[in-house]
Symmetry: C2
Subunit: 149 residues, 2 copies
């Protein structure tokens, strides 16, 4: 179960001191989500049950061969992005800097242990508009083209 809030970024902080992981992912199905993801040298199959703020999530390991086999079966475009992990005590911001056909989009996600904490969260100054629940900012929408253009 994942409880998270999502924001667009208006002003990027200095990222040079943070490490990032290179992510490439694609969707075999979007409802429910059946996703493949390459994260540095890890290959992962993810299933996400329905629901917007809270949803069931299952992960399983793939081999590189399996990943590239399944990559040929994805719907629409793959999504590529650099993900930075930025501490914001006691949470961690996942900052996604998109590339490829979504180049220009920068989005932050924060995950919470409870719905109460999610509701009480005050975003830092450099966060922009909240887009939690806005389907246009779901990766599963972006695969069919850039929904922001």
């Amino acid at each position: 179960m994942e409880i998270e809030r999502k924001y667009l970024i208006k002003e990027l902080p200095d990222l040079t001191k943070y490490r990032f992981v290179a992510i490439e992912q694609g969707y075999l199905n979007t409802k429910p989500v059946v996703r493949i993801r390459k994260k540095d040298n890890q290959y992962i199959l993810t299933y996400k049950g329905s629901g917007l703020l809270a949803h069931e999530e299952i992960e399983a390991q793939l081999t590189a061969d399996a990943y590239y086999h399944l990559l040929e079966k994805i719907d629409g475009h793959p999504i590529t992005k650099k993900r930075y992990l930025i501490p914001l005590d006691p949470y961690t911001i996942e900052l996604d800097v998109f590339e490829g056909h979504m180049d220009g989009l920068i989005m932050a996600e924060v995950e919470f242990p409870t719905i109460e904490e999610a509701e009480a969260f005050i975003p830092p100054e450099w966060f922009g508009e909240e887009v939690t629940g806005d389907r246009r900012y779901h990766n599963s929408e972006m695969i069919f083209g850039n929904p922001l253009k």
Copy 2:
């Protein structure tokens, strides 16, 4: 974790008193297994990690729409079979009567709680050759044609 032994059936018992479920399934990937299955009116995504006698298995619900969307992406043929559940105290025999391109194959699987019980199992008289670990009898091999012909 599943521990099971598999047998071919030489002599079919009277099945009229047992109920069956109609199963259709296909493989998006075979190593590791990423399988979709229609079981009566249930649609299930299954992941199976590697290993022959014992392997990790994860199941997740699909919608009918998701199932038919993913069915277009499977490798090779779908597999169709009728599955009978036959009690064999304290176990349950899963008897698969194959249809379609595997018509003629009848196979029984018995699942055990421990490897010790699996090793101590004495099959009933009507079971034929044991094929546990014989890759030709893996559904993931049958999708590319009938390996017994």
